[in-house]
């Protein structure tokens, strides 16, 4: 009963409205001044069609979206900052000075960590705390230099290799030759011929590192070089150089940054390895590899293991941070992860 009456009521309302419309149409005339012209605003017209997507903004948003990533980022930034301002702080010791007990005239050998020597001293009485930070600086310097140099040489060679199809065969053969010489042989022979030093070490790392980078970039260039937009660009007369630098490389920027970021922990690891096989820096230059090697020598004595553990903790913290950040950045720079 209730539903029926409501329906009935509605019908009657519609009938009344229709009647009203009929009467108003006949009574009122439509004039021009009843309309208002809207301004044609180009900016406003664009706004509806524009998605607001920016590659770098989205990458940054995803990258900083993870709390763990932000924590590692802050941690690494603080660590790097501290590494570089440490020698400027008050009461810091010289990393290569041997400390002698003024009363007895004997060196402070293997002093356990205390308020004077925060990380203790090593077997000849040098301050481990300042040695570790000095070593971190050296290792980071090696890592950055060889990482950046490897990236630059590798990208340049990879671009030529991937883009110049005529030379592909030749480059591939050169790659095969380089790849077949065991890296250890190449590194050792070059180090012996050039004498061990900081420069030699960076050179040797670049020598064996660029070829892998070049191969990687070459494969990526092959993917992009014959895409339609490059074909169009070529038809319009762009030079090869312009196609590579303007069309292809910007697409690879995230990959390149990832590779460079991962090359830094890789180089720090290589430095530890080279030191282990006796190709490291001279003992007078502290580096993380040298410190770990010194720590390994006293590893069997339980009370002196701190000399191994402190450098190991610093190396691990730095390499893990770089590696985790590099991977987080690679994930973030993948457009499939953008929302």
């Amino acid at each position: 009963m209730g539903i029926f009456s409501q329906l009935h009521l509605k019908n009657r309302v519609y009938e009344n409205m229709a009647a009203d419309l009929e009467t108003s149409a006949t009574e009122e005339q439509v004039t021009d001044d009843m309309f208002k012209l809207a301004n044609h605003d180009i900016k406003e017209a664009e706004q509806t069609a524009f998605s607001g997507y920016s590659y770098w903004k989205s990458t940054l948003k995803v990258f900083l979206g993870s709390k763990v990533t932000v924590f590692i980022l802050i941690f690494l930034a603080a660590l790097l900052l501290f590494t570089f301002i440490q020698p400027l702080l008050p009461n810091q010791k010289d990393p290569i000075e041997i400390f002698v007990n003024p009363e007895t005239g004997i060196q402070y050998k293997n002093v356990q960590p205390n308020s004077e020597f925060w990380f203790g001293t090593n077997t000849i009485g040098q301050d481990l705390w300042s040695r570790i930070w000095s070593g971190t600086r050296t290792s980071l310097f090696i890592g950055l230099c060889s990482g950046v140099a490897t990236a630059i040489i590798g990208i340049a060679a990879g671009c030529v290799w991937g883009y110049a199809r005529k030379w592909d065969r030749l480059f591939t053969e050169i790659y095969n030759i380089f790849d077949n010489i065991p890296y250890t042989v190449l590194r050792m022979l070059i180090t012996y011929i050039m004498r061990p030093s900081l420069g030699t070490m960076i050179f040797v790392m670049c020598l064996t590192g660029w070829i892998g980078m070049a191969k990687y970039i070459r494969n990526l260039i092959l993917i992009y070089r014959d895409r339609e937009f490059n074909l169009a660009s070529r038809c319009l007369g762009s030079s090869s150089f312009k196609i590579i630098t303007k069309n292809i490389l910007p697409q690879l920027i995230s990959v390149i940054m990832l590779e460079t970021a991962l090359a830094i922990p890789g180089a720090i690891g290589s430095e530890v390895f080279l030191t282990y096989i006796g190709l490291g820096l001279p003992v007078s230059t502290p580096s993380l590899g040298n410190l770990i090697d010194e720590g390994r020598a006293v590893m069997m004595v339980a009370s002196q293991r701190y000399q191994l553990f402190f450098p190991v903790i610093v190396v691990s913290a730095i390499t893990i941070s770089f590696y985790a950040l590099g991977n987080a950045f690679a994930d973030a720079s993948d457009p499939r992860n953008h929302r």
Binding site: P182, R296, L308
Partner: protein, 316 residues
Amino acid sequence: MDMVKYCLGRLGRALITMAIVLSIVFLLMRLLPVEGYFGDRSDAMNPKVKEQVLKSLGLLDPWYVQLKNFWVDLFHGDLGRSIVYRKNVPVMDIILPKAKYSFQFGMAALVLEKVIGLPLGVLMARYKGKALDKFGNLYILIINAVPAAVYYLLIQLGGSSLFGVSMLYKPTDPTSWILPTISLSLGGIASTAMWMRRYMVDQMNMDYIKLARAKGMTSSQVSFRHVLRNAFIPMAQSLPASILFTISGSLYVESLYSIPGMGGLLVTAIQRQDNTLVQAMVLIYSAISVCGLLLGDIAMMICDPRIKLTKKGGSR
């Protein structure tokens, strides 16, 4: 028939590459200072004796004569005798017993790597985003980021002080195998698990998997019957090379546990400038890598009939 022709062609090209590699290493070795050939007795020798030593080693000839002699000997199947490391012992007699040790440890580690790595990867993909996956990813991150030299040391230290396992390798003590094998396999477990997980996650969204699920297979049946069989193909490609390369040994692990393997031999041979030994080892390593790649491609072709090596892919 096509296949034989293809293999021969590839081997032929590889031989040229190997010849160039060997010549480069040969010449680099000749660039090293001559003092290295006398070892520690360098100061005690008078110049006449030194010259005689060099002459007997054939090192005073011009480099192209030395290179020619080396190639002539090699064609007669003679890799030469060690000149410093163990004087006048044929290099193969030095290398083979050492390679045996490295091969045994390497194979043990390789088996462990697949036995643990593959299931770990499968389980990580299955429980993606859960605790197991997070734990596995953390493990992979740490193993990849931390230099191997560092965690090898910690394993040796921890294993011997906490569990009382023998710190050095003894042929009579089977427990002394535990730590070196674990150390050798850690990196492999991480990369196998990482690869397997990525592969599984990619495959899970494929149409054929959805069909298999739709026709009523359980997800573990799908994993084992379909995904794992497909996953085996890329693995078949890398397996021959990994098996062959076990004989090169690991420098760190072998020197830490004093295993008389191949790992440190190359480094020692270069340090002591034992030219013939270095050349023989470089020859063996490049032969291994060429054969490993070829065998891998053939294995892959056998596992997957869709793959043809002889057909050339077109490019624009």
